[in-house]
């Protein structure tokens, strides 16, 4: 039994190693300029993951990442609600909403592999694609604006368009994947 436990522990550690960096990057953006600590957000998310690890460990990377993302988003929204109720002297009503809305978004995204995503990025219009890549590399709007010699506001619109197009490109694939899953199981 001890060995099984060790095996699980190692798998869990590997799981953390694999997902932590990208999740932390996201958490930092969510918690920027607030009293929320990105590390705490990620820590809480992995604590939840530990409880669910039995179910998570055999899922695809994409599915596990989508689960983590949804869970972290929920934790973040909880924080926002707490802030709001606290600032109004209200009790923590929001915590009751725990577990709501875990569904749809996660189910769609968990079927998208990183390869499919890369292909979708390739298919974006050149300026949207290049702007999105720069953004994904960590460039801020003003740096991207400088790169293209356009106003900062334009960069915002480009990224919004790029994301809309990515979603449009990826979601039909999700429908196909879902159908495939339905016929093969």
């Amino acid at each position: 039994m001890a060995n099984l436990f060790n095996r699980e522990r190692r798998r869990y550690e590997a799981f953390i190693r694999q997902h932590r960096p990208s999740l932390l990057g996201l958490a930092r953006r969510l918690s920027a300029r607030s009293s929320l600590e990105a590390e705490d957000l990620v820590q809480e998310t992995f604590e939840r993951a530990m409880n669910e690890f039995e179910a998570l460990k055999d899922r695809t990377d994409a599915a596990a990442a989508a689960w983590l993302c949804t869970t972290m988003t929920n934790r973040f929204l909880d924080y926002c609600r707490r802030q709001r109720t606290e600032s109004r002297g209200m009790p923590h009503l929001a915590l009751v909403q725990e577990g709501v809305a875990q569904g749809e978004a996660q189910e769609n995204w968990e079927l998208v592999s990183t390869e499919e995503f890369q292909k979708a990025v390739e298919r974006l219009k050149p300026h949207l694609r290049d702007a999105y890549r720069l953004h994904a590399e960590g460039k801020r709007y003003n740096a991207i604006a400088e790169h293209f010699n356009v106003p900062v506001g334009t960069v915002g619109s480009w990224l919004t368009l790029a994301r809309r197009d990515l979603k449009d490109l990826l979601l039909p694939q999700v429908a196909v994947a879902r159908e495939r899953g339905a016929t093969s199981s």
Binding site: L23, G25, E39, T73, L77, T114, R133, K139, R140, S157
Partner: protein, 476 residues
């Protein structure tokens, strides 16, 4: 009027482009606006995918004024130092603390804290070659990145740089989880087994296992008893699920008698072996159960069996090899179809159909002989006669199964070439891997460890790439 929902507010918020007040207002708005909440969920999933697929670190907006592109992360030490210096020195002078200067020039002694000398646990499993960074401590991954925030003292690092001790600098960064800096400094270190080992640690941390193994092999070629390289090689092999080889590498570390490490290596080896043994027993039991179901009299459910496709596939092969009639083989077709639908192609259906055309008057006794072999896998005395009959018969699939089952190909070159010959004639990649495994076992028996481990890593990669159709653990 600008409501929070318009003007791409959500995107600006997630990208850290709002001011503190605007961000706060948006967070409040988020809790009341279902549309923005759902938009946030989608957007975050997309951004996480981007981070995973495009590999860049997501932009971090600690403060609206600080723009630190990722590319600027690897800063030469001197530049960093100058940056600190430029601000620190005028301040110090203004405060009348000119001693800062003197201390700055003081005779260098590298404080242990550069390599976290006061830490009471290791945060990663791999071993660096620098003696100060390779003290034995209990491993405690959950305390994770706490060291990352600990400031690296720049002065001693500059001193190390003067001494061209890039490996020492890299170790200091690595201990704080800054692999990018560690890698950059290692690039400047002169070639050595130690350098290759440390580069392998970086590769391991980035999950570039094949690269790591290559570097470690090179380190061990230069110094076969390089403790850290042997240890790290065990980790790489373990990450690729080559538990048996990983245990062997830990054994070698244990035999070096280093304080702390030796006992830990022994424990790791034992743990891996038990785990592998448990998994083997479990795997064989599952396959045997499924095989008995398929060849038994009771009806079985295709869908239910296909829920464990890897087990079902192995059991299907055994069933086709052991049934004694055309009808018996044809009854397996639905499962072959179901599993082909999961794995792609028509490998299994073709196999079943082809066996159904065999002459069962000749095949049945051999099939029974093979079934006997499966039932009494411990007693190997009759196998020689059976193998000989199989070799002379045209029932090559059964011969293949028996060769794999008895492991004869490891000691018998003719058997190995028969095994390979058969594998090459079938389109099932798993059978190719099995034949390859037997060949690799032969290499190992001959003492060609490094080459065999490289091949095993490749085989494991291929196996994992097959999707969930093959029992990759069996490559051990």
């Amino acid at each position: 009027m600008t409501t929070p929902c318009t003007n791409n507010r959500l995107h600006l918020f997630v990208d850290g482009e709002l001011s503190a007040t605007e961000a706060e207002a948006f967070r409040q708005h988020l809790t009341r606006c279902a549309e923005c909440e759902s938009g946030l969920r989608d957007l975050l999933q997309l951004e996480l995918l981007a981070a995973r697929a495009l590999g860049g670190a997501a932009p971090v907006a600690e403060s609206p004024d600080v723009v630190e592109p990722v590319t600027a992360k690897v800063l030469p030490l001197r530049a960093r130092l100058q940056k600190v210096y430029r601000t620190a020195v005028p301040l110090a002078l203004a405060a009348g603390l000119a001693t800062v200067f003197i201390r700055f020039q003081a005779p260098p002694e590298i404080p242990g804290e550069v390599w976290l000398s006061s830490a009471d646990s290791r945060t990663f499993e791999a071993r660096l070659s620098h003696p100060k960074a390779d003290r034995f401590l209990p491993y405690s991954p959950m305390r994770g990145t706490s060291h990352a925030t600990e400031m690296l003292p720049l002065r001693p690092l500059a001193e190390l740089e003067e001494r061209h001790d890039f490996r020492g600098i890299a170790a200091a960064y690595a201990l704080r989880g800054d692999w990018q800096q560690a890698e950059a400094f290692l690039g400047r270190e002169a070639e050595s087994a130690d350098k290759a080992n440390d580069q392998a640690v970086v590769a391991l941390s980035r999950q570039r296992y094949e690269e790591a193994l290559g570097l470690l092999t090179s380190a061990l070629r230069q110094n076969p008893n390089h403790a850290q390289a042997l240890w790290n090689r065990a980790l790489v092999l373990r990450e690729r699920d080559l538990l048996d080889r990983a245990a062997a590498s830990f054994d070698t570390v244990a035999s070096l008698g280093e304080e702390g490490w030796s006992a830990e290596a022994r424990r790791m080896a034992a743990e891996l072996r038990t785990q592998l043994a448990e998994e083997r027993v479990r795997w064989r039991r599952q396959v045997t159960d499924a095989w008995l179901t398929l060849t038994g009299d009771a009806p079985w459910d295709v869908k239910q069996l296909a829920q464990r496709p890897v087990v079902a596939r192995a059991a299907l092969y055994e069933a086709v090899r052991t049934v004694t009639s055309k009808e018996g083989v044809e009854a397996l077709l639905p499962l072959a179809k179901e599993l082909d639908a999961l794995g792609g192609g028509s490998v299994l259906q073709d196999y079943v159909r082809q066996v159904a055309t065999r002459d069962f008057a000749a095949r049945a006794p051999l099939a029974q002989g093979y079934a006997g072999l499966l039932r009494e896998s411990e007693t190997k005395k009759d196998a020689t006669a059976l193998l000989e009959s199989l070799r002379r018969s045209g029932e090559r699939d059964i011969y293949f199964g028996a060769l794999v089952h008895t492991g004869s190909a490891v000691v018998d070159a003719t058997a190995l070439s028969a095994l390979r010959g058969f594998a090459e004639g079938t389109p099932d990649p798993w059978l190719h891997l099995l034949a390859e495994r037997e060949g690799i076992r032969r290499e190992l028996a001959a003492g060609h460890t490094a080459q065999a481990e490289k091949q095993l890593m490749d085989a494991m990669l291929t196996c994992n790439g097959l999707g969930n159709i093959a029992p990759c653990m069996e490559l051990n």
